[in-house]
Amino acid sequence: MHIEIDEISKSFGTTAALHPVSLAVPSGALVALLGPSGSGKTTLLRILGGLEYPTSGRVLFDGQDATGLTVQQRRAGFVFQSYALFRHMTVFDNIAYGLKARPRASRPAKAEVARRVTRLLDLIQLPDIGARYPSQLSGGQRQRVALARALAIEPRMLLLDEPFGALDAKVRKELRQGLRDIHDTTGLTTVFVTHDQDEAMELADLVVVMSMGRIEQIGKPQDIRARPASAFVREFISA
């Protein structure tokens, strides 16, 4: 799905988290929102997911105005920073949650839910953990379960908030490839937030560098490296 952000701004009280920003995300792209904390990247992601409403501006999904759509109507697969797995449910029930929450008419039968959960557990290469609770999983496993849970609703796009932030360096490297593979398999338009320029440059097709609620530069990783648009970008990517 093609996403267009048209002059979106957001302020909390008197502080502006986002100055009007515009951005087009081509269908099927893997895009990184890169910037230090406080740059507005997470706010922008939450506006895309419908968890936050913009103060002004529009969001367009495939050319259709989606600004007023509720979080449920957006059908965005969202992976939260600390994964936000439902701690009182098994991994199976976590992944099945979105399917069971559907209105009765479009809710799959029990056997179909089980089949889809099994398929997702295979996709994240953890076929045997369905009966476990989140507290019994490692950080990397939790991240992959969160990804499977987001994919279960057959989302129109995938939004990830610092998906590797809570992991140690070794697991982080492995899961980067995992995300790339899942993106390539599903073909979903994917936007992820990171403060790690290595991660953004290695993983993304398109990198959006942000600072202080503004977009500093949009470009392919190699272009940003070769021609940083501002002193901030030059400094940030060399860090």
Binding site: F78, A84, R87, G98, A101
Partner: protein, 286 residues
């Protein structure tokens, strides 16, 4: 660790003497302050035998007091559970101006004497006020009747549920609820399937405390009830009246029943905790 010298001990452990002193003093205080008075109540109640104790309660006034107290708790506790959840939800899931003031306001019944609460209810809903007068005319007086007792009990016990829930809900944050919403769940479904299971233990504890206090409330109820025997005298009120009339067997038997109701709630909590130990462990913060 077996080859450590005999005098070796971890830095966080006290010497055996200090340890025994600490444990001994705690047990001593518990026995003196909690156990002895409780035993005394039961001993006094049964001083003249079981038969005497049972017959002392088996009169219309005694039974009415028990029935009234249970009725008040049955109305006040569920309502306060709902209000407590609503207040905790509002405070923890939204950011707004005056939040600190609202939290202070919820704590108000803890810091104000129950007698003052009772007087406030009389002044606000008494027969010579606008609301109270209207209700008296309609045939449903508030003060010196069941509604007043329920109202006073609710005000006094209001903070229990909210106070238990707020720290738990603050600690858990909003992420799980937000996740449920992004997965397509409605607000109500999110509350039932995500919020409620996560807070159920704190909620249970708050409800039990609220219940124990609602059944035992004396000061506020003493003011609003009018102490009409067989009609508005709750168990604590009746106990005091019996005691003042030197009917000690009846007074202590009723006190024993009240204490027993308290044990029952504690027993219920312990039973549920043991039964759901697995789920309890699994829902600890990961």
């Amino acid at each position: 660790m077996s080859d450590a010298p005999a005098t070796w001990r971890p830095a966080t452990e006290e010497t055996p003497l200090v340890r025994r002193l600490l444990i001994g003093s705690v047990l001593g205080i518990l026995a003196l302050l909690l156990l002895a008075p409780l035993v005394a109540v039961f001993v006094e109640a049964l001083r003249k035998g079981w038969w005497e104790a049972v017959t002392s309660l088996a009169n219309p006034e005694g039974l009415a007091a028990i029935r009234l107290t249970l009725t008040v708790a049955a109305i006040a506790v569920p309502l306060n559970a709902v209000f407590g959840i609503a207040a905790a939800w509002f405070i923890t899931k939204y950011d707004f101006r005056g939040k600190a003031l609202l939290i202070t306001l919820i704590d108000l019944p803890f810091s104000v004497s129950p007698v003052v609460v009772g007087l406030c209810v009389v002044l606000t809903f008494g027969a010579n006020t606008w609301v109270g007068g209207m209700m008296v005319d309609a045939g449903y007086p508030i003060v010196f009747a069941l509604p007043g007792i329920v109202l006073a009990s609710m005000i006094v016990t209001f903070p229990f549920v909210a106070r238990e829930l707020i720290p738990v809900m603050v600690e858990q944050g909003r992420a799980e609820e937000e996740a449920a919403l992004t997965l397509g769940a409605s607000g109500w479904r999110t509350f039932l399937t995500v919020t409620l299971p996560n807070i159920r233990w704190a909620l249970l504890y708050g409800v039990l405390l609220c219940n124990a206090r609602a059944m035992g409330e004396f000061g506020a109820v003493a003011v609003v009830s009018g102490k009409i025997r067989g009609q508005t005298a709750t168990m604590p009120i009746t106990i005091e009246m019996l005691y003042n009339e030197y009917l000690s067997v009846a007074a202590f038997t009723l006190a024993a029943v009240l204490a027993f109701l308290g044990f029952l709630t504690l027993g219920l909590k312990t039973f549920l905790e043991i039964r759901h130990a697995d789920a309890l462990a699994a829902t600890r913060r990961h």
